[in-house]
């Protein structure tokens, strides 16, 4: 899922300092699961903003709503009536949701309440970790199911580098070295010989580098 974390409240308050009324929109998708942009967080953000402005004797009116998914135009259509009289819309979705709302309401000021961090999952309650860099050409079958693109700090394909020590990455004693993990796993699978093969330079054209990527499924396109 997509992991996002809320921006500091001061930063959000600064974005809406000239507004009288705002619509705060949560999302029931990934950001609900990672506890940053669901119903509860949406209500809390709205009330925090109201209280701050109350204290400044410059009240702010808020309206809240939670979309089933902000990354789907049909769910955003439900905001049509709500956006009419607000000065701005604050989205608690990932960056996709913010942009979908902005696209639908060209005359509205749409603001992100979240920093969209990465795609990953929780490793313990309250802790999430990145697992995939969305490179567009998965190589997990070569690396024992551990992604070096995103879990190795240098995206090395022929690791581990000389900074790997005691199982940790050179960047931090809290970061496991992805290549130590790959080594251990390949060893337990009896496939260490695979690591002797030179992995060629990666084709990054399927990754972030070529403008917005598109995925097309001809068979499900209607009309």
């Amino acid at each position: 899922m997509i992991i996002a974390q809320q921006k500091p409240i001061q930063e959000i308050a600064e974005m809406v300092k000239d507004c009288r009324k705002v619509l705060v929109v949560g999302c029931a998708g990934c950001v609900t699961v990672c506890l940053s942009g669901g119903e509860k967080e949406t209500e809390i953000l709205a009330s925090e903003l109201r209280i701050m402005r109350q204290l400044q004797e410059n009240p702010l009116e808020t309206v809240t709503f939670v979309c089933t998914r902000q990354c789907d135009p049909e769910y955003i259509a439900m905001l049509d009536n709500l956006v009419e009289d607000v000065d701005a819309v604050i989205s608690l979705a990932c960056g996709v949701g913010v942009q979908y709302i902005a696209e639908r309401y060209p005359s509205k000021w749409v603001l992100p309440a979240q920093n969209t961090n990465f795609i990953g999952g929780s490793i313990e309650h309250g802790v999430w970790e990145e697992r995939c860099g969305m490179c567009g050409n998965c190589i997990l079958h070569l690396t024992g199911g551990i992604c070096p693109i995103i879990r190795c700090s240098k995206s090395i394909l022929n690791g581990p580098c000389g900074g790997s020590q005691y199982g940790k990455c050179e960047v931090s004693k809290d970061t496991p070295c992805a290549w130590q993990l790959i080594y251990d796993r390949m060893q337990s699978l009896g496939k260490l010989d695979k690591l002797l093969e030179l992995q060629p330079p990666k084709d990054w054209s399927t990754s972030r580098d070529g403008g917005p990527r598109k995925a097309v499924r001809e068979d499900v396109i209607i009309g």
């Binding site: 022929n158 690791g159 900074g163 050179e170």
Partner: protein
Amino acid sequence: MKTESKLESILNKGEFAVTAEIGPPKHSSPEAIKHHAEMMRDYVDATNITDCQTAIVRMSSIAAGLHVMKNGIEPIIQMTCRDRNRIAMQSDLLGAYSLGVRNVLCLSGDHQKFGNHPTAKNVYDIDSMQLINMVRRMRDDKVFLCGEEIKQAEPRFFIGAVANPFADPFEFRVVRLEKKINAGAEFIQTQCIFDMERFERFMEMVRQRGLHERVHILAGVTPLKSWRAAKYMQTSVSGMIVPDEIVERLKKAEDPKKEGIEICIEQIKHIRNIPGVHGVHIMAIAWEEIVPEIVQRAGLYPRPKAE
């Protein structure tokens, strides 16, 4: 001889090679580099020019290499994968060769987190292994990385790589060295050695796999100025092992600098007798002027002439 490198010719003759490191300055004056080059000229066979080591902005290794070359020493240009993509790297390789550079050392590079621009975006388009292979193919197959032919004047570098016997997983270090040799590495400079016992175990594994016959290994040494420097390396530099004895020896010493030089000389003399080691690489970090004394006292002076 695959290249015009003087270092290659010295190593191929079976001489015990001596290389040292010169760190380019954090400004644009070449004076310090010139000075270090003049001082080391007769004492080393080639000098490494670091490439924004520890991710701190410094004069480019190729430009600094040119200053070194003008002052009579053959440079080994370090090239990391951190700051340039495959396009920039190949372009710089062509440029460096056109200027007369004949040796390149390929490495991943320290993560930008350690440097003076921790908010920079890193590149890591290719890794050190792929870089080695790219330099080899540019030379031997006369092709760019994309496969396109280099129609004339292909860059013919003597190809170096690094190995760290002190990183983990230890058993895999020699395997990875072999992978680098297969990719095209012809000489290897190791991480600074303080734990001699571990280095000897590493070399034993190297010999078991016959790698010492396929590559020239130059053992890395670093003279330490104080016990604090030793302690810092022991605790804060990833991929380094500094035994307590060394810290203690420097702590007890009346003149720690002198003791640091002594230790380094002892290490070199010891390393010379380890079968399969073909040279020594002296990394006197911010202490370049001590290199001649170390070379001389370790019995490595005068240096042989290249053919």
